[in-house]
Symmetry: C2
Subunit: 342 residues, 2 copies
């Protein structure tokens, strides 16, 4: 196992110490229990937005804490759900009296622990709602999930709800907006290689030099099928077709197209995937009104990619363009001048 | 070789087509010859900032084209210098009458081709200056270089000069500022694994499961030495000590600390490196006033990291904080409120 780590058992704690060292001017990091919150939390009258899940998907979720996105993130150990205590403490830290919204990826452990934390919070007098993310069209049920897995849409959900919460949306309206985003987004991923969980010390599965896994999850869970290695264009078709068919997306839809790297895939390859995905979208009559290309929800150093499509509305475009200032996601749409203008 | 590509020979072209598909609202992409320019180029009265080099280091340089950073980037084939024709065409496209500044990493081919392009531009009546980047303390001379290699400081140079150019700095003052940044920055990198150039089809070198290369370049060039795999903390010491000694950095210096991933290294590991690097800086009496953590100058899917330190001034801090809007680098330092404020 080749990793830039010290003790395998200390990876999450030491990374959190690094986040505090790097971003302590804007974020606060708690080490007992683990969570990351905005430096200005709690904000009176603002709904606190909390997400979390196993570590190993960075920059999600800790990298998305800041103005215009999450109020807090609860990182579990690598690929391990955060505990109810963590979620409770983080939620308390960001509750400014307007309640707390949990964004929960659909994995059995995450769902259970967020639900337990929500009960504890309600007992404590805090209003809590949650939005589930289950956008992965690859498989129904899997190693860690009843129902579909939550993958790439989580990142978009955090950005969009973060903007709405910053604008003063109520807990009830955020819940409703989250459900509409959940209904409008679909994803699918694939892997060229496995990743190695530090405490396991060896790859979570093996793929031959001429094989890939289509429909992979973000923890190395099996996908739909193992297949012979294909070209970037063929792979893009394999991911886009099930996504398009599922919602279904229809000619005339305005969409956000998100091409995500799994951690070990170079950006230059993601643009080759984007090229084909945009071509397929155009052939289907879809209009790509916004996009995102990069490694935003990862699976340690796994090589591969995922594609997420989200049907957009005027409201969602406005929320997408809203300013955000977090360690891993900043948005600053500056106006640009006309060619030749001074 | 497992990559998300179609034909190895088409990687750069298809990635550029992907960049155009994704960012065509803000950038223009030329395919004959290859270059990427701001959509609003040329800007009358603004010095055009042009960089370039072999592809495979993404997001550098194409991801840094946009307001507040580069006016144009010239990507060569993977790890191959751009041609004088490319550099000439890109420079012409961004020349708004105030001249063009080339930011050149110190590799023999890059230096030669940028110099040839500069001569062609001068013959054509365009004022041209260049700033060389040669910040790598690992080795004097190497496989592709006479003198030190240009690595991580290039990214910081592009951000800082980009902000100054946006502010209306003259060609002469940008050249002077670039030289001062060059004099104040130092870097060193290491690798856990090699990368594979698509057209070569096999890794550029081999490292045993218990080995690493200390002082690696960004093209898999040999470093200072091959060593037994060490912990993240030990590796950080191995990189920081030569950097600190070289300038030298001294107690009381205000610095920018940049921890960069080589492409295949997860962000969670970079924060473990940052944690130790910040600790060492503090022990030396250095004050980290700004930082950057992520994969900004890569070597395809190589696993490893580099550290760059830049001695900061009030002027550089102001330029660092200036807004920027490019595909891979956006800056939007939003003010955050006081805890509990509405």
């Amino acid at each position: 196992m080749k990793k830039l780590i010290n003790e395998a058992a200390n990876v999450v704690r030491e990374a959190l110490e690094g986040i505090e060292a790097a971003h302590g001017d804007r974020l606060r990091v708690s080490l007992e229990p683990f969570y990351v919150v905005r430096g200005d939390a709690p904000r009176a009258g603002k709904v606190g937005l909390v997400s979390g899940g196993g570590s190993g998907h960075e920059p999600m979720h800790g990298g998305y804490v800041g103005r215009g996105m999450l109020d807090a993130a609860c990182p579990g150990q690598i690929f391990t759900s955060p505990t109810p205590d963590q979620i409770f403490a983080a939620s308390k830290a960001v509750n400014g009296g307007a309640g707390v919204l949990h964004i929960v990826k659909n994995y059995t452990g995450d769902v259970m622990n967020f639900e337990l934390a929500a009960e504890m919070l309600r007992d404590d007098g805090v209003a809590v709602e949650s939005v589930l993310v289950d956008d992965d069209v690859a498989v129904e049920n899997s190693l860690y999930t009843a129902g579909r897995r939550g993958v790439g849409l989580t990142v978009l959900m955090e950005k969009l709800l973060g903007a709405a919460a910053e604008d003063g949306a109520t807990l009830a309206s955020l819940k409703k907006l989250g459900e509409s985003i959940r209904a409008a987004g679909r994803s699918m991923g694939m892997a060229l290689t496995a990743c190695t969980v530090p405490q396991a010390g060896k790859p979570s599965f093996t793929l031959a030099e001429d094989e890939m896994e289509v429909g992979i999850g973000i923890h190395g869970e099996p996908g739909r099928r193992r297949a012979k290695l294909a070209t970037a264009d063929e792979i893009t078709v394999m991911l886009m077709e099930p996504i398009l068919r599922d919602l279904p997306f229809e000619s005339g839809d305005e969409i956000l197209l998100f091409v995500n790297g799994m951690g070990g895939t170079p950006l230059i390859e993601l643009y080759i995937i984007y090229r084909k995905a945009a071509e397929i979208a155009a052939q289907q009559g879809l209009k790509v009104v916004r996009n995102l290309v990069g490694s935003y929800i990862t699976s340690l150093e796994m090589s591969g990619c995922s594609i997420t499509l989200l049907r957009m509305t005027e409201e969602l475009i406005k929320l997408w363009d809203a300013p955000v200032d977090t360690p891993a996601w900043k948005n600053c749409r500056l106006t640009i001048g006309k060619p030749g203008a001074g």
